[in-house]
């Protein structure tokens, strides 16, 4: 399974000629090209932690390689080594069989390696074309707009990556910005494209477009490294997978499409993943009620006359294509946005201020969509973030004086109870992985037994193990009669957790289904506004 035994393109067995259409580079029996990129024995340590240990990896032209692994398994470090952000402690990188030294992203680009990061590197005020031409030497000191435009159109036509060259980047959707990043890499002559969790920011419909483009690029001989946690995507898209665990290659999967998700998950985690069991529960009285809530637009889609309720011991899922008012709904319920009209009650008490503090006082627990910017203070000790919402309460301070011992004790207890992997409560919160940050946020809310819990995208960017942990906690809270609202885009997750699912469309509740009536197909239809159901 591991080691240096299989590498390069020689592992592709000759298949029937019928397969040639699908991918000529991969399946053609006559062509056995040298690997486009080969990484040999890559080792990289940060202090005592070995982020990568003797990792071998290769990508052939025309091949889409899946790079799988839990958070902290070393995927991003490995790709940063390949893209020149870190120098490896040991090992070498070969491009088309020749060893190369990559010390910077410029070296990587020169070697034909392009990377699309999770967070885009674009200048929002410049146009698509201008972003494309940044750093490209022009003709005798002038920017070669005409040449750039021609290349942009050509790349767009080849792979279906069409973009309006004159639109400013700030006017592009997230999916279009990602498309621009891909075009940018191709524009700079990338023959190997690394995509770091590209689907994390996309709506389900946009994912199909991305996959079509990636397949087209592979068919024309580009190599692609696709980093993801989402096993179904990896199985649908990639030709071959490398699974990392704790910095080492835990296994290689030669036929992802015919390997089950469970087998791959086992390789990633090192043990079987058992889905949590949802016990039957009888919902009690309503703990959170929204009645005719409307908001004025603040950047996103405003809410229009939204009424919903969640009862104790019940999980209400909120489905919808991203940008249909979910953000405003989460902001209103968590006290970040004051509605223009409508009323809200928590545990029978009317909400007056719509301030975070008031809602907390009424027994609302909140986990924000964006952990790093809204949830935590990355530059301060983890303990500070864990006590932040309740710093003024008796638990952590008295008469304006902090109780450092109590703060430390609380953080240490939660770190232990939630198995938050970190050196201790004084570590910078930003040093933790996404899964551990989410656990910390969950701990800080659940420690105070909320009557209602609102969470947005609870497992976005988390690996299977961490996601499973979060799901189990939600179900445990449900069993303890907490009412939970889960806003999410992952329909399978919503179907597994929810007792009822409400679908948002253009700022309204398009309909609500009980878990027994809800299917992916039916929800999908409602998400496009095709079916209303009260």
């Amino acid at each position: 399974m591991s080691g240096r035994t299989e590498r390069g393109a020689s592992r592709h067995p000759c298949q029937t000629k019928l397969d040639r259409k699908a991918n000529c580079y991969q399946e053609c029996p006559l062509v056995t090209p040298a690997p486009l990129i080969e990484m040999r024995g890559i080792t990289k340590s940060f202090g005592a932690v070995k982020a990568n240990e003797a990792v071998d990896l290769s990508v052939a032209p025309g091949e889409i390689l899946g790079l799988l692994g839990e958070n902290g398994a070393g995927k991003t470090t490995l790709m940063n080594v390949l893209f020149g952000a870190y120098a490896p402690d040991a090992g070498e990188i070969l491009v088309e069989g020749r060893p190369v030294a990559i010390h910077s992203s410029a070296d990587a680009l020169a070697a034909g390696i392009g990377m699309v990061h999770q967070h885009f590197h674009l200048a929002p005020r410049l146009t698509v074309l201008e972003n494309l031409l940044i750093g490209i030497p022009g003709k005798s000191g002038r920017i070669d707009r005409a040449g750039g435009l021609a290349r942009l159109k050509e790349i767009g036509r080849q792979h279906g990556l069409n973009l309006d060259p004159n639109l400013p980047v700030s006017a592009l959707s997230v999916g279009e910005q990602q498309r621009l990043e891909i075009v940018k890499a191709l524009f700079r002559g990338a023959r190997l494209l690394i995509l770091d969790e590209p689907t994390a920011v996309l709506a389900p419909s946009e994912v199909d477009g991305l996959f079509a483009a990636l397949r087209s690029m592979a068919a024309q001989g580009l190599g692609i490294i696709f980093i993801s946690h989402k096993l179904n995507e990896v199985r649908a898209l990639t030709h071959r997978c490398v699974v990392l665990r704790l910095g080492k290659v835990a296994g290689r999967v030669d036929r992802p499409a015919s390997t089950t998700s469970a087998e791959m998950a086992k390789l990633m985690c090192g043990h079987e993943i058992v889905p949590p069991t949802k016990e039957a529960s009888t919902p009690g009285a309503s703990v959170l009620t929204l009645d005719g809530i409307s908001t004025s637009g603040h950047g996103g889609t405003p809410l229009r006359d939204v009424s919903l309720f969640v009862r104790s011991g019940e999980i209400l899922g909120i489905a919808g294509v991203s940008g249909n008012g979910q953000r405003a709904l989460a902001d209103v319920i968590s006290g970040m946005l004051r509605p223009r009209a409508g009323a809200m009650t928590i545990a029978g008490k009317a909400v007056a201020q719509f301030s975070p503090r008031e809602l907390q006082g009424l027994g609302l627990g909140r986990i924000p969509e964006d952990r790093m910017t809204t949830g935590l203070v990355t530059n301060l000790p983890l303990a500070d973030s864990m006590v932040l919402p309740r710093i003024g309460t008796e638990a952590f301070s008295r008469k304006g004086l902090l109780n450092p011992a109590a703060i430390r004790a609380f953080a240490e207890a939660q770190i232990k109870a939630y198995d938050i992997r970190c050196p201790g409560p004084t570590v910078r919160a930003g040093a933790l992985s996404g899964g551990n940050l989410q656990k910390a946020l969950l701990a800080r809310e659940l420690a105070f037994d909320p009557k209602v819990l609102i969470v947005s995208q609870p497992t976005r960017g988390l690996d299977i193990g961490a996601a499973r942990f979060i799901h189990e906690k939600f179900l445990a809270m449900r069993a303890k009669a907490c009412g939970i609202i889960v806003i999410g885009e992952d329909l399978e997750e919503l179907l597994m957790l929810s007792d009822r699912i409400a679908v948002m469309y253009e700022g309204r509740i398009a309909g609500t289904l009980s878990s027994t009536d809800a299917t992916v197909a039916r929800l999908g239809l409602m998400m496009t506004g095709a079916e209303g159901h009260a």
């Binding site: 990559i102 010390h103 809204t374 990355t378 301060l380 973030s385 304006g400 902090l402």
Partner: protein, 350 residues
């Protein structure tokens, strides 16, 4: 070939090492200027050292100079913690000086006068700082620009006062009338200028540290500075925290002015502050915004200032060198701060 690589954590000893490194770099760079001015570098720095810290009188003089910079350094350190960019400590100092001088000129028992001078001076500084803070909170006006420009407004208002209605009729110079003798701050050591205000400044530093590190307000200031969005989500009234920080910061800067009036000059003149408000920024940065670090940083700058005058007399190198040392120390510190987030790594040539 060298390149920068991100650091996962910053070692604790950096807090001490970086300011020392910055100071060393500043002194090294300025030795070039001394050489150009035609003096011996070792001799010049030797004179600076002995004149600022060489004997007990020199030390008291340095402390007297350090006191206003401790206050302005604390003012800036606390403001910057909340990311309230208070560049206006100079104006707040002047406002504190004018207000306390007006109070000190009223005949009343000495200790009452001193207490009132401190309260009124602090309040005046706080009110001035409230202006840029309010503009930012209410109208999103850039606080760097507004607090900086307000310095000129206050300075020229002060000039208008002492050139006009407040001009000392007795001397005829553009200076304010002196405060009552009974309001002069007591001198702690006979034959020196070491006054009560210096002790107050030295006590203020640990109090500010306690405020930042051990109170809920300090917690809110830290969190608001690092991530206002998370602070708001966590139920902190970010606007109120910014306004409180501004009041506190302005009051500290105002106290710097009170000390200069009550302990050093006993009246207000146009050059009552040789830029102590701006030096406060250097002090706060050298201290890495830690109130306890403000004291040694302020004493260092004060030593440079007192030393530079003696050096100028002895070697003919202009005393402006102290401003250059301050400036280069700040720049060196800002560059050195890079190393808290990055390390330099040697890589082989490609």
């Amino acid at each position: 070939m060298f390149r920068l690589e991100a650091r996962s954590s910053t070692p604790a000893w950096f807090n001490l090492a970086l300011p020392l490194l910055a100071i060393a770099i500043a002194l090294l760079l300025c030795s070039g200027l001394i050489a150009v001015a035609g003096a011996g570098v070792v001799e010049a720095y030797g004179v600076m050292l002995s004149a600022s810290l060489g004997d007990s009188y020199a030390i008291t003089e340095t402390l007297v100079r350090a006191a206003p910079m401790i206050f302005t350094g604390l003012a800036v350190a606390i403001a910057f913690r909340a990311k309230f960019w208070n560049i206006g400590a100079e104006g707040q100092l002047l406002a504190g000086a004018v207000a306390s001088c007006a109070v000190g000129a009223i005949p009343m028992p000495g200790y009452l006068a001193m207490l009132l001078m401190a309260l009124v001076g602090a309040a005046a500084g706080a009110l001035v700082a409230l202006v840029p803070a309010t503009l930012r909170v209410k109208f999103k006006v850039d606080d760097v620009v507004s607090s900086l420009l307000l310095n000129s407004v206050i300075y020229y208002a002060l000039m208008a006062l002492i050139e006009g209605p407040w001009k000392d009729t007795f001397s005829g110079y553009p200076i304010s009338p002196p405060i009552e003798d009974s309001a002069n701050f007591p001198v702690l050591i006979e034959g020196t200028r070491l006054h009560l205000g210096v002790i107050v400044a030295l006590i203020a530093a640990p109090l500010c540290w306690f405020l930042i590190a051990r109170t809920t307000l300090g917690f809110k200031i830290r969190v608001t500075g690092e991530n206002p969005e998370a602070a708001r989500y966590g139920g902190i009234n970010v606007q109120r925290v910014l306004l409180s920080t501004a009041l506190l910061s302005g009051a500290l800067a105002g106290l710097a002015g009170v000390g200069e009036v009550g302990g050093v000059h006993f009246q207000v003149m146009s050059d009552i502050s040789p830029g102590y408000g701006y030096s406060g920024i250097v002090v706060a940065m050298l201290a890495r915004l830690n109130p306890l670090g403000v004291v040694p940083a302020a004493i260092f700058l004060a030593a440079v200032m007192t030393g530079a005058e003696a050096m100028s007399r002895a070697t003919g190198v202009p005393a402006f060198l102290s401003d250059v040392i301050q400036g280069t120390a700040l720049l060196a510190m800002l560059v050195a701060l890079l190393f808290t987030a990055y390390r330099i790594r040697r890589v082989g040539a490609s």
